[in-house]
Structures are given as C-alpha cells and as structure tokens.
C-alpha cells in the first residue's frame, strides 16, 4: 500500500493547478524545503510524536483517563498545514486533537495537564483529551462527535467572510467522518456562499476498525465535493512538503474568494484508534511497512542528513531538547493539582 496515491504529478504553476469546478486538480509539485523549513518541520513533528508517546505512557500508568486518541504517524498533516497558514487562520478538528494544538503553538504543559485533568489544563481540566480549545491561538477544538466539527468549521469560515478579515478556517476530519450527512450539508453551503474553509480529510485508512474500502462507496475522498463543484485533491500526507504545497494552494484559493477546497491527506495512524484498541483489523506488516517506508519524520531526517544540514549528533541534541520539553509537560501534568471543586459549577453560563 502506497502512502501517496498521486502526490507528485502535475506542475505547481497557478494556471495548471487552477481548478475548474470539481475538476480534479493536479497536485502541485512538492516544494523543496530550505534548511530552516526542514529543521522546523522536523522539530514540530518530533515534538508531536514524543508528546504522544509520553501521553501513551501516562495513559498506561492510569494518569490519563477515558479515551485517548494518538496522532502518531499523521504528524506531517498538521505541521505542513501549520507552515502554510497565516496568523488568524483557524483550525478545528475531532478528538484526535493533541497534534493540532501543539502545531498551533499551544503550551505542551497545558495540553498534557488537560489530558490528566488538572487545573492547569487548557480547559482547566474540564474538557479532557477530546475537548480542548484556545481562543488566543484560534484553535476551536477538540470535538467528540464525529463530523460536528465540519459544520462548526464552516461556521468559522462564515464568520471570516462576514467580517471580511481575509482568514481561512481549516476543518480537519477523518475518512470515517467523511460519511456523515452534515459534511455534505456543509459542503453545499460553503460552495453556495463561497465560504473560505479548507476541508482537510485525514484519510488514515480506518475509522476505528472499519477500512475505507468497507465504509465508502467511492474511496477517492478528494472527490466528495464533486457534486457541489468543490475542487479537491489527494495529497501525500506523509510528506510534509507535499502537505505544505497543497495547503498553500488551497489557502490561496479560499482567500481569493473562490470558496471551499478539499484536501484529502493520505496518511496512516500507527497506533490503535484509541489506547484500548488492539488493532486486529490490520496486519502488523501493514503497519511496519508504513513505519519503515513512509514515516513522515524519518523522511525529513534523511533529507536533513543527506544535505548536511545537521549531523547525527545535532539531531540527537534536538531530540533531547524535545524530550526535555515533553518531560517537563508530563511532570507538570502529574504535579499540577486537580481543579478546585468549586469549578464544578463554573463556565456553564456567562
């Protein structure tokens, strides 16, 4: 199974990639990253991965309760999009949300402390792993109902248009979520009213234990907007450069008033759906192959080393740095007290 269906075909020039209606637009050529971009992407993705590994560990220790959905394997998607967006562009996603928050530059301590339900958590410990928000960083959650964030994200885009602020909303959802009715209700309105919103389908091949093939009549999810005339494309979501290039194109489309855009990120989650998923619906070989051949972080690491942009030792030092940040977050998340009991009755009404 290849991670990318059609990632590098076509040219990146504007004329070639300008989409006509639902015509399947050619994915732009991968933009080559310079040294700074590669190292930035590497660090951001590594931080998400180390954070998620630590979250898995804390879950194993019983410090994180309930459901905990890890983003390991999908890091390039959110990091590539983050690198393309400008200040004020919003993100909204489902319950697999830790990576998005870290990419949106939220303090790992606040995220981890929310996972452990402590008062220093982003939602004061009252939201939990699936429900976190940051008005300041334009992160709108963190939603536990599959598909809800698609209509909500369309509303964020609607507000951008209403205020004429030039921003674009990015609504992330899974391959499983792409079968929800409200997704299509939103597609229709977004295109009808030319709402600046990017629908980012994170196709990690499974919705819990159901593969895309078993859930979707047409597995090319990038074409789900075809009947509304929304352009869409499949992107190699394991290659952060491809993600960033496609995102730039989609953002420009939205910002120029042409309405919504669909990016189907072909990606993969290494871990189970949530911590308690034994993942019996796929083979170990399938997972291993992805890890060894398409890992988003390894790809950047290799290029960095090949280009001589960092030495093994420098990357080790960087990893140590990231581990220290994550360890500090984990420490905070364990020592920070639980919310004061008086918080039970606050934040219900303003």
């Amino acid at each position: 199974m290849a991670a990318a269906t059609k990632s590098t075909a076509g040219s990146g020039t504007k004329s070639a990639s300008r989409s006509r209606g639902a015509a399947k637009s050619a994915a732009p050529a991968i933009v080559e990253f310079d040294k700074d971009q590669e190292l930035h992407a590497y660090r951001e993705m590594l931080q998400i991965r180390r954070f998620e590994e630590k979250a898995g560990q804390l879950y194993g220790m019983g410090l994180i309760g309930g459901f905990c959905h890890l983003y390991i394997g999908q890091e390039a998607v959110v990091v590539g999009m983050q690198m393309a967006k400008v200040d004020g562009d919003q993100m909204i996603t489902g319950y697999r949300d830790h990576g998005h928050m870290l990419a949106m530059d939220l303090d790992p301590k606040g995220v981890m402390a929310e996972l452990t339900g402590r008062r220093g958590g982003l939602s004061k410990g009252k939201g939990g792993s699936m429900h976190m928000f940051s008005k300041e960083k334009h992160f709108y959650g963190g939603h536990g109902i599959v598909g809800a964030q698609v209509s909500l994200g369309t509303g964020l885009g609607f507000a951008n248009k209403y205020r004429e602020n030039g921003n674009v909303a990015m609504a992330f959802f899974g391959d499983g979520a792409s079968n929800q009715g409200q997704v299509y209700e939103s597609f229709n309105m977004a295109q009808l009213w030319k709402i600046p919103v990017i629908y980012v389908i994170e196709n990690n091949k499974y919705g819990m234990g159901t593969s895309v093939e078993r859930s979707s009549a047409n597995t090319d999810l990038s074409q789900r907007g075809a009947s509304f005339g929304i352009p869409g494309e499949q992107v190699d979501g394991m290659d952060v450069r491809a993600v960033m290039a496609a995102s730039q194109k989609a953002l420009e489309h939205c910002r120029s008033g042409k309405g919504p855009y669909i990016l189907e990120m072909i990606t993969y989650r290494y871990r189970g759906h949530s911590m308690s998923d034994p993942a019996k619906y796929r083979s170990k070989e399938e997972v291993q192959k992805m890890r060894t051949e398409h890992d988003p972080i390894e790809q950047v690491r290799k290029r960095v080393l090949d280009n001589g942009w960092a030495t093994e030792d420098e990357l080790k030092a960087l990893d140590k740095d990231v581990r220290a940040i994550v360890a500090e977050a984990a420490e905070f998340a364990q020592t920070d007290p639980e919310p004061d009991v008086s918080e039970l009755y606050t934040d219900i009404l303003l």
Binding site: G60, I92, L122, L156, E185, L192, L350
Partner: protein
Amino acid sequence: MPIDILMPALSPTMEEGKLAKWLKAEGDSVTAGDVIAEIETDKATMEVEAVEEGTIGKILVPEGTDAVKVNEKIAILLEEGEDASALDKASEAAAPAQSAPAGKENAEAETAAPLPAAPVSSEPADDPEIPDGTPMKSSTVREALRDAMAEEMRRDGDVFVMGEEVAEYQGAYKITQGLLAEFGDKRVIDTPITEHGFAGMGVGAAMAGLKPIVEFMTFNFAMQAIDQIINSAAKTLYMSGGQMGAPMVFRGPNGAAARVGAQHSQDFASWYASVPGLTVIQPYSAADAKGLLKAAIRNPNPVVFLENEILYGQTFEIPDMDDFILPIGKAKVERTGSDVTLVSWSIGMTYALKAADQLAEQGISAEVINLRTIRPLDIDTVIKSVKKTGRLVTVEEAYPMCSVSSEIAFQVQEKAFDYLDAPILRVTGKDVPMPYAANLEKLALPNVQEVIDAAKAVTYTA
C-alpha cells in the same frame, strides 16, 4: 538512569492483565515504538510498545504471569552507555514518586470531599419600570418578534438571522417580514433545507464571536440539528474552561399548530430545559415575545426560544417605548388570586386565563403565573404563590411524561411540601402522538374545562 518499564493500563477500566509474551530478551536493544511484549486482558490481547530507546537490562516479570497489576515494574531499560551495573543502582534508587493518579484510591478519596453547593441563581431582575404616561400600542406576537430582531440588528452588526425562507419569502410564518429589505442578504440569509448543517454553522460562527439568530421553520425540524444545539452550543463554554461559548438564539414555532398531525406537533421545552448550558424561553404575549427575544439576542449564552404558531396572530397591548426588554428567568403574575395557583406558559396561558375567569364566576379565586422562561425556572415566584393558595395546577400542551410540569411539581413538593393542601395536578397534552382527525386532535390537547376541573379538584369544590 535505568528506566522502569511498567505494566500499562490499556483501557479506562483495566486493573490487571496477563503478561502473555516477551518479544524482546534481556540484552536486546529497542527503539521507541518497538513492540516489546504482549499482554492479555479480559477483553483483548494488546501490544506493549517501548517508549524510550535503550537496552532491555532485566526482565522482572516472566512471560505467562497472570494478574500482573497495572503500574507494576515488569522490566528495566538501560539507556545508552549504561551496563548491567546500573541495574543495582536502579534497584537501590527509590521508586520515582508518583503523584496520585486519577485512579481508584484517589477517586474514593475524592468522593469523600464535600460536594460544592450549586450556585444559588441570583435573584432575577424585575420587569422594567414602565414610565408613567408611556402609551400602549397593539401588537401581534408576530410583529413583536420581528421588531425585536430588527431593533437588535440595528444595534449590533454581529447579529444576523438565518434559516429556511427567512429572507425573500419573508419567513414561512412571516416573522422575518421586512428584514431583508432593511438589512440585506448578508445579514438575512436564506439557507438550504439543511438543519443539521446550518445549525452547526451557526454555532461555529457564534464560537467565532458572531451572534446568530438561527430560525427553525418549526422546532420539529430542529431534531435534525439537536446534536449541534446540545453537544456543541450548550457544552462548549464548559468544555473550554470558559474560553468560548455560543452567544446565539435558536428560535421558531414549537408545539402543536392545527391539524398538521403527529410529526409537526410536539412541544420540546422539556428536552432542551434538561440541558445545563441552555436557556429556554417560551413567551406567551407580544410583550413577552418582544422583551424576551431582545434579551435572548443580547444574552451571551445559547438560548432556545420556543414560539407558538397559534399565538403569532394574537394581539396584545405592549408599552410603546424605546428598548423594551424583559429579564430572562423571571415569571410574571398575570392575575392575582387566593384559592389556587395556576402555573402556565406559552399557549397554555390561554387555557389558564380563561379558566381563571370562569372560576371567578364560580367563586374560586385563581392566581395565574406566566413562567415565560423555562430554564432558569423561576420557582421562587411559584412557591410564593403556593404558600398563599396551598394548591397548584400546571397547564401546558406538552406530553405529561418528564414534562416541565413534572419538574415544577417536584420542586414544589421539595420546597413547599408543608404548604400544600392538595396533590399537585397537571393539565397537559395527552400521552399520544398528535392525531389528525379534528375530534381526536381536540381531545389530545388540553382545554379550559380540564383546567377548571383540576382547580376544583384541588380546592375540593368539585
């Protein structure tokens, strides 16, 4: 420092498991993500992945061991450069202090902590003073609703209205008449027939700070959107620790119209009223409609504003003044009396007031309270009246089971048990889907005689 590998919990409820198999042996090197062991729980077999890089220094729990407790040390991992001698040091070093996890013991300790008192809702404000000499004017409920929206839209550019047929058609029930002409299609938006989608879109816009008025052609169709109303609009403020909420109004006709059958005739007040985070209003008069809709639009929380189609065309006197606004959460004593309290709201008021007139002719003095807001419930006004009359009858069109009436009866027996001289009675819609046939429909709805009968029963004058 060697790292302890602990028996992991792999589900919210797991307490112990079997260490089924080691996939790595002492001396093997591992990198983060490598599967090192398999454990079995009552539910599944799961893999344990290494979180750190290193060499397996010592396996402490042999494979095949049953009932290994979560968080028990199962192996020791040596970091780069460490050899077996580090193991001894590791066993000497005190086990890392773990702050109490949110696990069992902690949870038990927590239950002992006293439950904080629910906040006593602050006394709702009284109705505004109507200055002497303020002229009254006639207004239908329909006009009052329209005027309320228009005034608030003039006042605040973030307020907009959207829904099916609200713009060019002027509203399926003509509530938004004239708004398109005044405010344009940016702020008066015809949506496709797509309740779930546009309700969610409205909530998203509200989370971004706009103040949408989402009109449902009727609340029967809001069932398509109830997930967004409850899971997104009502709960976001809490889940975000107060960072963002949904300052918006969901409004439209609710309850039975006439002869439209079961799917178009249901009162959903008790559904929404059961949800913390929502405010629920059911106006009766034109003044209620105008004053409370304006308050709802300005309220920073999601408000479910339940109108009634039969009342739309009814005319009431309302004060002709600038910015007439009513307090949310305050009931109104529409008629004072001493023998029995009738509590109602929305169209139920029409039965209650007529019944009070007829009861008066029969020498029974009924006090009639118009609740106006369902959540927060102004139970104090009801209790004050019950303490005077000792008798209570509630009147509404909704189904009886788990109704707003049930809640009122519960709270009154809880807070004024000793003042009751008779059981509380409810006059409600019958416990049946709304029939179409005219005679059956009439039977399914409450009527004035039922209210009179109930009042007589509780005053023992039947």
